[in-house]
Symmetry: C2
Subunit: 589 residues, 2 copies
Amino acid sequence: MDRLPKCEANYVPLTPVTFLKRASMVYGDRTSIIYAGVRFAWHQTYQRCRRLASALRSLNVGKNNVVSVLAPNVPAMYEMHFAVPMAGAVLNTINTRLDAKNIANILRHSEAKVFFIDYMFVPLARDALRLLMDDLQKSGSPEMSMPLVAVIDDIDSPTGVRLGELEYEQLVYQGNPGYVPEEINDEWDPIALNYTSGTTSAPKGVVYSHRGAYLSTLSLILGWEMKSEPVYLWSLPMFHCNGWTFTWGVAARGGTNVCIRNTTAEEMYKNMALHKVTHMCCAPIVFNILLEAKPQEHRHITNTVEILTGGAPPPAPLLEKIESLGFHVVHAYGLTEATGPALVCEWQKEWNKLPREEQSKRKARQGISILTLADVDVKDVKTMQSVPRDGKTMGEIVLRGSSIMMGYLKDEKTTSKAFDGGWFATGDVGVIHPDGYLEIKDRSKDVIISGGENISSVEVEAALYRHPSVVEASVVAMPHPKWGESPCAFVTLKKKSEKNHGNVKEEDIIQHCRKNLPHFMVPKKVQFMEDLPKTSTGKIQKFQLRALAKTFVISEDGNSSNNNSTQFNREQPRYYHQTQEQSLALSRL
Amino acid sequence: MDRLPKCEANYVPLTPVTFLKRASMVYGDRTSIIYAGVRFAWHQTYQRCRRLASALRSLNVGKNNVVSVLAPNVPAMYEMHFAVPMAGAVLNTINTRLDAKNIANILRHSEAKVFFIDYMFVPLARDALRLLMDDLQKSGSPEMSMPLVAVIDDIDSPTGVRLGELEYEQLVYQGNPGYVPEEINDEWDPIALNYTSGTTSAPKGVVYSHRGAYLSTLSLILGWEMKSEPVYLWSLPMFHCNGWTFTWGVAARGGTNVCIRNTTAEEMYKNMALHKVTHMCCAPIVFNILLEAKPQEHRHITNTVEILTGGAPPPAPLLEKIESLGFHVVHAYGLTEATGPALVCEWQKEWNKLPREEQSKRKARQGISILTLADVDVKDVKTMQSVPRDGKTMGEIVLRGSSIMMGYLKDEKTTSKAFDGGWFATGDVGVIHPDGYLEIKDRSKDVIISGGENISSVEVEAALYRHPSVVEASVVAMPHPKWGESPCAFVTLKKKSEKNHGNVKEEDIIQHCRKNLPHFMVPKKVQFMEDLPKTSTGKIQKFQLRALAKTFVISEDGNSSNNNSTQFNREQPRYYHQTQEQSLALSRL
């Protein structure tokens, strides 16, 4: 049996590019993309992608070259997910909320050969390119050159904004519709490069292979049970792990991509109603956008919209509210290094019999491994033994399998460290419940160790969120003379103008926590703030809060006092375009 | 980016064995198998498979060794789909309807190391083993030895029937529950060996890789849209391409396998009702079994049962009848060499608006490629060019991709011929409709060429089936002095005792065809028969009919006469056990 060799007929390298060709063959006339007044069918999308790929080849873009793009969820952004690998190159989607300095760093680190820029981000990109040029000149790197620049004008309402000489639609137009895509000879070839947001360290360039992208795509369709012909609303940025692989997945399912430029309540509701949206992904913060829609923005949803959400588990009352509007929420957990979601909280039929509150608890868990992950485990960090499946013992979540990244670009050391022992260590702390479902408790460095007990900051935060006046909450460790560490809460409150939300005091919050948490988990200090410090992707910067908490003095009897004002220097990046809702992603996704 | 190597954390060879481990971890307490009074949960199935695998290892079974099994759809048969590869070995499921000679040939050709035999087939197996021993002695093959023999007794009602010293449950009992499965180091390693039925030539041993089995499993779940927690009735023999991969697929989906020993109407209806079956696969002949159930055998179906069927498209009236009982039928096409179904007729929402008859036509097409096939095409045999997508121009169906077999065991020549030109040539003739859906017209050698026109025998048969008195029909080429060939029909009729089905004459059938077919396609001769000649898997032996048709004399004016009696020597194999419904598979599957 050893003598049966691979050949072209029985061994075709796995790549999501095949999904597009197949969609054009078997779903050719179905709508592939809707964006404002623009509509494409799958045979057109395939042709446009072939044209763009051929145009890229004629710009000398080829194997392992990086093509960067800074754009919202417009059709061009979708098409590039196929066209760039069809030219043999690697797609690098850049977080549009980064500042010019970060973008320049990414362009430099990735050695981007072409840089596509949506017209909206031309000012930001221009600054980034200037910084890059200065940088290259200063460092005297003759082997590196500036990327070619191409503007993506709005395809529905062209603006004429330009930077450099190339324009996306021109490239598509000039390309060869009969172009034969570059053969993927090895499914271990890279397809995408996504930079982490860098909450904990400098941004790292995460590389996905064709194989990993392909298998993750299948897994997520299966894990979410996305049926054929989905109408998918692009509320999740495609720059987040390639839209959690649904860029490729919608093609695999012969669905329709409903592209929107801004994730405002108005755009989302309008598109849902117009196109009978069936599926969308988003961070839980989008629930708030949907719930807080003004009456004129809101549209009634006639068919259930499936939502896949990641990151911090939405509190039960929020879940109930959003589902009462006609959404159905499935919770996931993932990270850039795992090509997006690695765990999905698959619903089990028998849970339908549970009381509502119990159902919410189940739903808020992060769930079970997607099918193409070979293994997920929770291990004691010291012994590297699996923790018992008791829903209590915390350990680090580790992953193995085809959905895990190839590694970090130009960073062998961090790569081999991340894969130490044959597992990818997530840095997240969780428990396994007796039924095999995982629940995240915290980032390992966010765990608070108080008198030898591990306290999950996420759990304390969940209790805080249950207080009716709390808008946002974040809990970190604060030095404690007796217990080593104790929890310190930072909280923003609803505006006093809102009914019943005036005059909430620290003691009220602490009382509320006493009712909802074991005593040792109750924050010893609650600090009210106007805003919490956040990264460019809207993640709370706990390191800033930790620095602040260190300045609080706690007496042994537990009373606290401030050394300092709670005002601090926020390193918020400048926003060049503010119409997109900020803070889209609370999650690590 | 080239420098990012594969490691244990990010590259795990694809194998369906991982589905079982995952099922035991995340669906551990869910029911995995139901068989009569026996019930297992997934954690038990995993443990039983580990035990059996370890027992096989202690019998010295290892990499690339073949383990053969002759059994109906009992729990042991299911478990072996995981346990055998977990020992590093290759599973060979043998068609239980073969005769002793064929089975002996398979055991010899595959060099089976262990031969598992369900107690029901002990007499047949004993004969096969005797033939094998004679054969080995005669040919003096000292390097080959007889396989170890193990009986699978009925797990629900043990009979005590034995052959040799080993027994399945004893092996499971003796095995080590903590056994660590053999690592699959290369996903291109073989997992299964399935012999073709040999309608056209000697049986060939088709080898599947772990990779192919894994990817086909995912594709078929997706193509059929099988949701999680299916309750799957084993009406399709697991020896048919490993149950069209649903042996592995039900584990991937955390479903329940409802095993039955016999596909009688009574067993099927009883189990459907008792366990709320949601899914089943079968050849269209099973529709007749279900429709012809006696009143005391029939049970009312409360939830829709999804049926995936393959082979000859069921005629529209049959489809309508079966669906009116609460079944929902999806049509597929495949072959052993493609790991089962390669095309699935995915339903498109817009077809719901079509008239009923038009819907039936759509449903009877073979459909579109499953997701992991890289390419499906219909090619002109002479020019190897793709035929136009007009639903008319016939060509040979060719396939490429991960679902295609590794090759034929010990048959390099036939293997390389099958893969000639980088495609797997199916030998089936079809058309592509403008919407990209394929429709099979015939086996290439069954096409009738009349006056230069290609006539699909399948199309003529479909017309014949529409006649109310026709039970079975088969159409082959008959020599014709003017047209070269013309269609000749062999027909079995309903019993005369049935109302309105007496006295049908050749002329009546020809008249019926004239109304339903173009003139040149109408059979020039209709021969009534008591039974049509069939292979052991119930496929009609057209070569016998062709031989018969050659004896018919046609005058230039088109009148025919028989040279011969229509009695012929049927090479029907002896059936050792007749309670299973014969002729399960009309299809090539």
